[in-house]
Amino acid sequence: MPYDNLLVQPMREELTAIGFKELLTPTDVDEFMAEESGTSLLVVNSVCGCAAGMARPGVRLALQQGPTPHRLATVFAGQDVEAVAQARGYFSDYPPSSPSMALFRDGELVHFVPRHRIEGRTAVEVANDLVKALQEHCAPAT
């Protein structure tokens, strides 16, 4: 059963405030994923404080350090159920977990951070891991 939106809205805004587009329907997801050129980061947001409480600040810190993907989007597990299911179809080799993060380059999944690599870590640790992936996959060619 979804949580009350009053509880969830601030968690949504932690990501939308830093440039993430909310994908609320399967169509939203497919339209976002249809743009394959460049890099995109899709974050599966979650209420769970055990992991998501560090995931969102971790993402924010990572994007402050850069390099940043061309496009940022998020779906919310347990809330926007159909959108999340559609999104997971784009990284179906990975078992469902939330929060999680998927980084795509030219439409191909190049990095995935499952929940167990987030939970129990600090925001800085989450950020450091994500920055490594961003540097590898999103840095402009020199």
Binding site: M11, G53, Y94, H116, E119, G120
Partner: protein, 92 residues
């Protein structure tokens, strides 16, 4: 900001590897761990040698990608548990 249930122990909400005495291992999200039992949610289970994979191979794969749940909830007697480890701490 999020939800917390700190009365369930320090591993509440954390994905753990529960290695049992004998040939079985479980990976799932710890709901509660106490002197009597370990309760996991969304857990996978593997027996040493099942599908041609050792316990160690199963754990390594779980650490890479996560697990597909076989059980919504599983209760493991604490007396049969050999060790409990965070999946995130397993080297990949």
């Amino acid at each position: 900001m999020g939800t917390f249930h700190q009365d369930k122990g320090e591993l509440h909400g954390i994905t753990v590897v529960v290695d049992m005495e004998g040939d079985r291992v479980y990976v799932g999200r710890c709901w509660e761990m106490n002197d009597r039992e370990v309760v996991l949610l969304d857990a996978d289970e593997h027996a040493d040698g099942e599908d041609g994979r050792s316990k160690e191979e199963f754990i390594r794969r779980a650490a890479e990608v996560g697990v597909w749940k076989k059980h919504d909830r599983v209760v493991l007697p604490a007396a049969d548990v050999a060790s409990v480890t965070r999946l995130g701490d397993v080297e990949v």
